[in-house]
């Protein structure tokens, strides 16, 4: 009887529309983080104060260089229908990303990001190859609350962030264009945003949840007034220490982008939705300040999961240093 009831509930959940299923799943994750039991162990560690932070409160600066390779599996149309790439087609990119962080004052971390990418796309009737700088981004992250101690009422660590993205990347001109989905050499406009992050330990396991919202300013990237839709990124993740120097992490991310306006008209069906899963192994040498990680992410090629974007997988490796 128990298993039958469980099966009935699962059927009911799966029969919900995709957006409702996502909302329900997000609510469960949020409750899981906030209402989880108090950590059995003291949360004090030399981990950064949140997944978005690059430094701990004991460190002053950090630098990290990441390289990633991405391959598209297909493209989702406006209805979430997936068109897989044929064997003779290719959409691929490689990206180099430099991130720097500085704590000044101690409670506030300033973080910058600048990338360069190479992008290739070809089908039977079209070929495109581009490379160049990406947009520059600046975050200010501030930790409002530290995670509660075991003897205190349970509460996660809470941090907030502000974002400014500057359009340094290659913008569309008469003939060139942005990459789709995976690599965006440039948005072509300024982006202002903010975010919030919760983090909590459950024994040895760490859980985090973050949300980032961004507003895109109007631009003339296509030679006429254009306004990209607002963006929301939600992320839920967990990490598990495997040894003093090694940990594993997994995350689930969802991105939602509103519809685009062109010449003052909102274009229906241009909003985007992208779901991703990722896993990584991270190593650190605390004494010397080195950190490194390798990861794999997947934007699953499942019909109806995403829309107006790309299904893809990506491999990435990062080497960082903090002091």
């Amino acid at each position: 009887m128990k298993s039958k009831g469980s099966f009935a509930r699962k059927q009911s959940f799966l029969s919900l529309p995709t957006t409702r299923r996502l909302r329900r799943f997000g609510q469960l994750l949020l409750f899981g983080v906030i209402l989880s039991r108090p950590a059995a162990a003291c949360p004090c560690s030399d981990d950064p104060g949140g997944r978005g932070f690059m430094t701990t409160t004991a460190e002053t600066y950090s630098a990290a260089l990441s390289v990633s390779a991405r391959r598209s599996l297909g493209q989702f149309d406006a209805h979430g229908k997936l068109r897989r790439l044929a064997a003779t087609e290719l959409e691929a990119s490689e990206e180099l990303l430099l991130r720097l962080a500085l704590r000044a004052p101690r409670a506030l971390e300033w973080q910058t990001e600048l990338g360069a990418a190479s992008y290739r796309f070809h089908t039977q009737s079209f070929a495109e190859q581009r490379r160049g700088l990406g947009d520059a981004a600046l975050w200010g992250r501030y930790q409002l609350l530290e995670e509660s101690m075991p003897h205190e009422p349970p509460w996660p660590a809470l941090s907030v962030a502000g974002l400014l993205r500057a359009p340094l990347g290659a913008v569309a001109s008469q003939q060139s264009s942005f990459g789709s989905g995976g690599v965006q050499l440039g948005l072509g406009t300024w982006e202002l945003g903010g975010g919030v992050e919760l983090q909590r330990s459950l024994g040895q396991v760490g859980l985090w949840w973050s949300a980032e919202f961004a507003y895109r300013l109007a631009d003339q990237a296509l030679g006429r007034p254009r306004k990209l839709g607002p963006r929301a990124d939600l992320l839920f993740g967990t990490n598990l220490p495997l040894a003093d120097w090694l940990s594993a992490s997994a995350s689930l991310a969802a991105r939602f982008v509103g519809e685009v306006s062109l010449s003052g008209h909102t274009l229906e069906g241009t909003g985007e939705r992208l779901l991703s899963v990722a896993g990584a192994l991270s190593a650190r040498d605390t004494a010397r300040g080195f950190r490194s990680s390798v990861g794999l992410s997947l934007d699953p090629p499942f019909e109806g999961l995403s829309k107006n974007t790309t299904a893809a997988w990506a491999l990435n490796a990062t080497l960082g240093f903090s002091r």
Binding site: G74, H79, T123, S180, G181, Q184
Partner: protein
């Protein structure tokens, strides 16, 4: 089947704000309200080169001479852009070819017009499977 049915269906679909069809005839009114464009893709819309037939019905009494100057398609979020290679103006309807909609997804197709001495344009969405 009566010839007007696909056009009527497309008009009803657009009027309801539903997703654009990937085949059949699209009927759209120009931004300036001078003409109505009847656009028919040769075969279903497909990823790659497309050809289309474009005809116009004058809505304003003064609109007599309509020129199809250019056809451009945009994916505004990604900055993708494509344009028709050739536009035949020998006979009505106009025939445009070489419109390479190279990426799956929603494109916004724009017809640049000259109605008598006035510039106007028609814009409509197309889903590329």
């Amino acid at each position: 089947m009566p010839a007007f049915l696909p056009a009527a269906f497309a008009a009803a679909t657009l009027a309801c704000g539903a997703a654009p069809s990937t085949e059949g005839t699209v009927i759209a009114t120009s931004q300036g309200g001078l003409v109505q464009a009847h656009v028919e893709f040769e075969g279903a819309v497909r990823r790659g080169d497309n050809a289309l037939l474009v005809d116009f019905v004058a809505l304003a009494p003064a609109a007599a001479m309509v020129q199809l100057v250019a056809i451009e398609a945009l994916m505004p979020a990604h900055g993708h852009r494509a344009s028709a290679d050739r536009i035949s103006i020998d006979a009505s309807p106009f025939r445009a070819s070489g419109l390479n909609l190279f990426m799956t997804g929603r494109w916004q197709v724009e017809l640049d017009l000259r109605v008598d001495e006035t510039e106007d344009f028609v814009s409509f969405p197309v889903d590329v499977p």
